[in-house]
Symmetry: none
Subunit: 214 residues, 4 copies
DNA sequence: CATGAATGAGTTTTCATTCAT
DNA sequence: CATGAATGAAAACTCATTCAT
């Protein structure tokens, strides 16, 4: 009985994208096999070409979907914290944990960086639209902290975002080579707690001192 | 200068590895073509198999060489700074600049992480031997700072190394997707200065406060 | 008649197997060329890999088919002879002539013996199922002869089968070296008659004396 | 220290031929690898080409040597039996056991038959000279038996030789496919005894009845 | 829409043999 | 004589994509 006949176009596309996501994340663009994707799918290879034109088209749709899901998830961070400090602290922690939870997405991002983001670039507005709000969250947090006197002015929100992203992303994407080279202690439970706390401390420090003195 | 029949095994191997490094860094393992590597080489495809057995063998030797070159370079950081603070500051700056200068190596590392470091693992001692000294540099710096009263005790040197690596590495490996999503301001000259300074400030802060309070 | 785009899987497979049979029988496994098989086929090299995975897979299917055809042919020996003696006599003659007629199969068997039957072993039940009835024919003949008093009891049917097979097989498979060493008189018409008659006489003798006296 | 430098040309050639014998017997002509032969040798690949011109030349020398050794061994059968019957009986038994002991040679013969003995043919007199005496042994035995009244006249010595060879050879060369198809009972100790005894009985029967009645 | 069959161009790999020293 | 280095030709095998039904 194998593959239950696909229900409707949207469902079929979703199913293909899901499998393709996994395969591309696992093997990269060149390493992924259209055959394998098709076989794991509830539909046939022909449908991949029908809906996505070719392997590259499929890969690009995978990127669009992955980024969209990620941003939607990030937008749901909303808690109602007591203070800007606490809010920033929570934001860093949540970003850190979130990256860990979305290893597949992190891998796709790493893969796309190997391709120098040429596919994200090719997507144009379809991609950039999706990122509009990502920096805004931290910008807002930071403004509130400055207003309340908890933070000093002068920090660039994008730079703060970069800083947090760097730590949270590297933790996931470079885990294997780092462990191979320096041991996996930093990936023990205690190790991860330490790293996350370092990230929080560092970010709070940056926000509190501001960048005016530069 | 055509293809000067080499008759010099070491030179031939070196030449192959150099080209292969570029091709693997550019296209990943699956995306790289033995044919292309061979054509760009001063020797023939046959010699690649003669010296490296197969594509995977070649890729692994590329990894070994890349890591060795990187570590040798790192070991040459030696300056004679006035203080531990200054030394740590220099170390962070140099790591940051160094990663930028070695984009190819950074790409190989990213690629190997996509492969979950299975090839570094397969290399066993041939790889791990090469990393022995990498953390030691910062460990020494930190110890001297603690001794001189500039830093507080309690930080783990590997964690500090992780922290610096994360920022310096992300800056290079995720440049393209970050720019595509949030603009390339952080990759302007001024932007890069800011990021580097943030890294320095954050690391000094961590070293100065120590981790005792955990 | 060029290459009629087959669109008939069974026909395409059959065509490939037929050609492959000839090439493997002629050149052995290592000596056969997938390219040559493909060229002689009505389809393309790609289809060989599509249906049989690789050269070894093709070779194994050739073995399965060859044995099956051989056994089916053997099962059709059915005559209605007057006596067990006559039946056994006919059986030996038919086996002897049959091996001569199926030189290609004999060559495949010889080749597979060079491989120590590792491919037949790998086929497992797919191969052993096919041989179920092969000994039964002679076992039945022999039992009837014992019952009628023409033969004495005590012979093992598998050993009788071995004995007949040995003579009929050697006659075909070792023809060339035997002729090269001792001349081709035994492969003249008269010579072959003599050998066949020797085989008949010997087998009848064994059946008539039984093996009780051992 | 690896390979102890070869002593003298004859020794070097002998060493190459010995290894080559094994490799050709194991893998056939096409399946054998010059590289592997060279590596297993105490000398280098260059010497193979120096002494034997090419792979085919080496294979042919292997054949010459193998046949010569075999014939020399057969010529040493000489016992001084009481009667022709006993002598023939011994001859059959010895041939049967001998084939078992020289599996490698049997494999080479099988391989050369796959090649339709074209290499033995190409060797011309170098090969045929070597077989002169092989039939003579049994011819002499048979004549003595006829003279003493133990055997009847009319048998052709070459045919008797063929008959004995067939059984003794098949027993070794087709062992694997026969076992795979019909079980290995005939290759148990008892099974082999039975087969050998069948061969003896059959040959004696043929010699005693002669072929006059044809 | 759906599917198994088909394919051309390309990819990795192998092999016997020769060359330079 | 001896050896590691070198090689061209050809071998096995793969892949994204398209076709026929």
């Amino acid at each position: 009985m194998a593959k239950p006949k696909a229900r409707n176009p949207e469902e079929v596309k979703r199913n293909i994208l899901e499998i393709a996501s996994e395969e591309f994340a696992e093997n990269g663009f060149a390493g992924a096999r259209v055959n394998v994707i098709a076989e794991r799918t509830e539909t046939s290879k022909r449908m991949i070409y029908y809906y996505f034109d070719d392997k590259l088209g499929l890969y690009r749709e995978v990127l669009v979907l992955a980024y969209r899901q990620m941003r939607e998830q990030e937008a749901a961070y909303n808690d109602a914290p007591k203070s800007a400090t606490e809010a920033l602290c929570n934001f860093v922690r949540q970003t850190f944990m979130d990256r860990i939870r979305h290893e597949g997405f992190m891998r796709l991002v790493a893969i796309e960086n190997i391709h120098r983001a040429e596919n994200l670039d090719a997507l144009g507005a379809r991609f950039s639209d999706v990122n509009k709000s990502a920096v805004e969250t931290i910008a807002k947090l930071y403004r509130e902290g400055v207003a309340s006197g908890e933070f000093r002015a002068g920090c660039d929100a994008t730079e703060l975002h970069w800083f947090i992203s760097a730590l949270a992303t590297f933790n996931v994407t470079n885990r294997h080579t780092f462990s191979a080279a320096f041991g996996s202690a930093v990936y023990s439970e205690k190790g991860q707690e330490n790293l996350c706390q370092m990230a929080v401390d560092a970010v709070l420090h940056l926000a509190r001192t501001g960048r005016d003195h530069q």
